[in-house]
């Protein structure tokens, strides 16, 4: 408490390195005011700078979308789980793909051995996409595709599937993750070198702006950068630098900022300290609005909105005493609800072990529903506004995020720093330092370095990996291939190659190939033959030299 004298060992800092004082008053709020801010930085919800939320009524009008992450085995398995999730109250879907699909390999590829359907659903052709969403009203239960390396292919498949089902693309909603720059920092499902990878993202942005204007082709992820070792303020700063890089690509295509910025969405992490997380979102929301208005000259308020999914929290979970993860999940959900997130995807307590069981999925969903139905979290907007601590920390985090963004800019910009591995090296050093603090006990983690118990045998039920699902998938792929017209496929892939070689938007050519039931692997092979493959920079080189001396 604040009755103690402030000795050095009593000083406390949050993960962003900001000192936390024992008490906050109006004086701290005033002293922390952000440089070049507005007269009134807090403002009203639904109004610039949107500190209090992007909508006037927020959850009072509509609670956040509940979008649990799922997908495994083949399209039938996943379709069944989707329907279970919808039946238990999910209001959106968040699709997990297996690694071969994410990395551009067909299920019968040598590189796919042992990985088909393991961490997500296998998609080889349009046929699988059709089965996965069969019987699901994808306009009311919107779908988020968590895929990056092959995102352009998956968006093409999704749009073709939706159109075949009779949905008008002009009104189709949905999201694709499609944030390739962060894949080079964390998550790692890159395929092509940085430059053509960014071109593909720009192609999807341009195509959707013109053909599917309500579809969000990109969800910029601070999430995985945070998981990889970044602090909360670095998470937001790097994500904003990446988002700006995509906006700049859109502008280079001749799009007006207000013609596409409003479809940009974001994905952020929710593990960490309670107030730091909440203020991170409030600070980020305000800063994004300022960036769009002041740096990009956006006129439409929707372009300034930080629309976000707050999710996961996987790195906050522990193998030790996995039931503790249920409690952590509840706090993470509360953080999201107090942060004004549009969508929440809450981690499941068994995630440190396995693909979540239906029961664990339901428990995470119920955690959010309890906040909505019992706890009154949807009754009033941004209830923490005006708290001396919350407003001070919001100001301080915004200032810190701006500092990091400026630093990235000064050092050559985010694309350069990702290409040469500097961001990766910095973030992974952060993860190493954190791990050392965890092991020394300096960073406290319940069940890990304090309040440990003699662990009982594993209490979670492991997700079964069924080899027959893989066989089924391979059989379907074979059958689809047999039923195709080789001349049509050949022509479509040839056209795709030509487009990749040129500067035209590649999306219409992917769509043509998808309609002919070209496989993910075939399309990826064409693109790889033109673009080449990404090679990771060696971030340990400095050490290798030291070792050689």
């Amino acid at each position: 408490m604040n009755t103690r004298t402030e000795k050095d060992e009593d000083r406390r800092f949050n993960e962003s390195g900001i000192e936390i004082k024992p008490l906050y008053t109006e004086a701290e709020v005033a002293a922390s005011k952000v440089e070049n801010g507005e007269d009134d930085d807090i403002g009203a919800p639904g109004q610039y700078p949107f500190t209090r939320g992007i909508h006037r009524e927020m959850y009072r009008k509509r609670p956040w979308t509940m979008r649990q992450y799922t997908g495994f085995g083949n399209a039938e398995d996943t379709n069944e789980r989707f329907k279970y999730l919808i039946a238990t109250g999910n209001t959106g879907l968040n699709v997990a793909f297996d690694l071969p699909t994410q990395c551009g390999f067909d299920s019968d590829d040598e590189m796919a051995k042992g990985e088909v359907g393991r961490v997500g659903m296998a998609i080889d052709t349009l046929k699988d996409m059709e089965i996965a969403f069969d019987g699901i009203d994808i306009q009311n239960v919107t779908v988020s595709l968590t895929i990056n390396g092959t995102a352009a292919i998956m968006i093409a498949m999704y749009l073709v599937m939706a159109e075949k089902r009779g949905f008008d693309l002009k009104g189709l909603r949905g999201t694709c993750q499609n944030d390739i720059l962060k894949e080079f920092v964390g998550r790692g499902t890159w395929i092509y070198p940085v430059e053509p990878s960014v071109r593909l993202v720009a192609d999807t942005i341009e195509y959707c702006a013109q053909n599917a204007p309500l579809y969000s082709p990109v969800s910029v992820c601070g999430y995985h950068i945070r998981e990889s070792g970044a602090t909360p303020s670095e998470e937001i700063a790097h994500a904003f630098c990446i988002a700006k890089a995509y906006l700049d690509e859109g502008l280079k295509r001749g799009l007006e900022i207000d013609a596409f910025a409003y479809r940009m969405s974001f994905n952020f992490n929710i593990f960490g300290q309670f107030f730091e997380q909440i203020c991170k979102f409030r600070a980020g929301r305000r800063l994004w609005a300022r960036i769009l208005k002041k740096q990009y000259g956006a006129k439409n308020a929707k372009s300034m909105w930080l629309r976000m999914i707050a999710g996961g929290g996987g790195s906050g979970l522990t193998i030790e005493q996995p039931e503790n993860n249920i409690v952590r999940g509840a706090y993470y959900a509360l953080i999201s609800a107090l942060s004004g997130a549009q969508t929440i995807a809450l981690c499941c307590y068994d995630e440190a072990y396995t693909i979540p069981s239906p029961k664990a999925q339901r428990l995470s969903l119920r955690t959010m529903q309890i906040l909505i139905e019992e706890m009154g979290l949807t009754d009033t907007v941004d209830p923490l506004a005006g708290s001396y601590y919350v407003e001070t920390l919001t100001n301080q985090l915004e200032t810190e995020i701006i500092r990091i963004m400026d630093d990235v800019e000064k050092r050559g910009g985010i694309i350069k720093l990702i290409s040469n591995g500097e961001i990766q090296a910095h973030v992974s050093k952060g993860a190493y330092e954190h791990q050392k603090q965890l092991e020394s006990g300096e960073f406290r983690k319940v069940g890990v370095n304090c309040h440990e118990i003699e662990e009982e045998d594993q209490v979670v039920e492991m997700h079964p990996y069924k080899i027959e699902d893989v066989e089924k998938q391979e059989a379907r792929l074979k059958k689809v291939k047999q039923q195709r017209d080789p001349a049509v496929i050949g022509k479509a892939l040839e056209n795709l190659g030509k487009a990749a070689n040129g500067t035209e938007n590649i999306m219409p050519f992917l769509i043509e190939a998808v309609k002919a039931y070209a496989t993910v692997g075939e399309m990826n092979q064409v693109l790889t033959s033109v673009f080449g493959r990404y090679r990771e920079p060696d971030i340990f080189k400095e050490h290798a030299n030291v070792a050689a001396e």
């Binding site: 051995k113 393991r118 190493y432």
Partner: protein
């Protein structure tokens, strides 16, 4: 296998398509700090890539990081190549999201030590030193 004049060499590899490299990079830094010579392969290595890298680096230790659940098929395929490339005298370790029930199967395939995501860095370093000295004798 180990020369007395040089540092113990560890090849740290990410087999298969798994992109979770936070742990591998943490372990790499920790092993470097512990005085080992470490080469990190980066992501998406085929079993062939791994044995070739181990041979060329003259690795004393082949370390795998796998979080996708594909450890059994990957290690089974790798075993054949490790024998073929005459690397079976090297210490072979694996870490990641590996359920306890699979540890025995991995040992049977030929993996010398298995670590899970909650193993401390100091335990990994100690285990490598201990196992490596067993090998040296």
């Amino acid at each position: 296998m180990m020369g007395k004049t040089r540092k113990l060499r560890i090849l740290l590899a990410k087999p298969g398509l798994d992109g979770h490299d936070v742990g591998a990079k943490i372990v790499a830094r920790s092993l470097i700090d512990a005085g080992f010579e470490v080469r990190y392969t980066g992501l998406r290595q085929s079993p062939e890539d791994i044995v070739i890298a181990a041979r060329d680096f003259e690795a004393d230790v082949i370390a795998l990081s796998i979080l996708s659940g594909s450890h059994l098929p990957i290690c089974t395929r790798l075993k054949v190549l490790i024998d073929e490339y005459q690397l079976s005298d090297r210490l072979w370790i694996a870490g990641g999201n590996i359920p306890a029930e699979d540890h025995q199967s991995l040992h049977q395939i030929g993996v010398d030590a298995v670590f899970n995501t909650s193993t401390s860095l100091s335990d990994i370093v100690a285990a490598i030193k201990e196992k490596a000295s067993e090998y040296a004798n």
